[in-house]
Subunit: 84 residues, 2 copies
């Protein structure tokens, strides 16, 4: 059995998001003045072949902490859904 | 009134995700052999100051098409939630 983890990694609110600011200014120049904030993070879809949801959740937390996010600057959340 | 658009931008399934492949190999080297696929996209939180949900949705679709995604290689989805 396998699970798909849909992982969102976002910059912590206290961290300046320069990429997001650049996107916001570009949108302003395109005429979208109603856009007041853009923050850019990562979205990852990971297939984890474990038999139980508990095992898959353990793996998802570990890979987020060790590789997929930077715990100093970023937060992560995920949802698990069974596949086949 | 304002709406927050939670936008996911993902590579189309037919496009090879080299960044995701690299992450998957790194996870394999760390001992996570149960991870069989990693695909990496973007997650964006955008505050749109429009009075109606319909207006905010229109802006969200336009900015995704014009700036936040590459329509040739990527798909986007979003959810809108009212703020304040």
């Amino acid at each position: 059995m396998a699970f798909k983890a849909n992982i969102k990694v976002t910059l912590r609110p206290s961290i300046l998001d320069v990429q997001g600011k650049a996107a916001q200014h570009a949108l302003e120049n395109l005429g979208y003045s109603s856009v007041s904030s853009v923050r850019i993070g990562k979205y990852m879809e990971v297939i984890i072949g474990e038999d139980s949801r508990a095992e898959a959740e353990k793996v998802a937390i570990e890979i987020c902490q060790k590789l997929l996010s930077n715990p100093v600057m970023e937060d992560f959340t995920f949802e698990l859904e069974p596949v086949n």
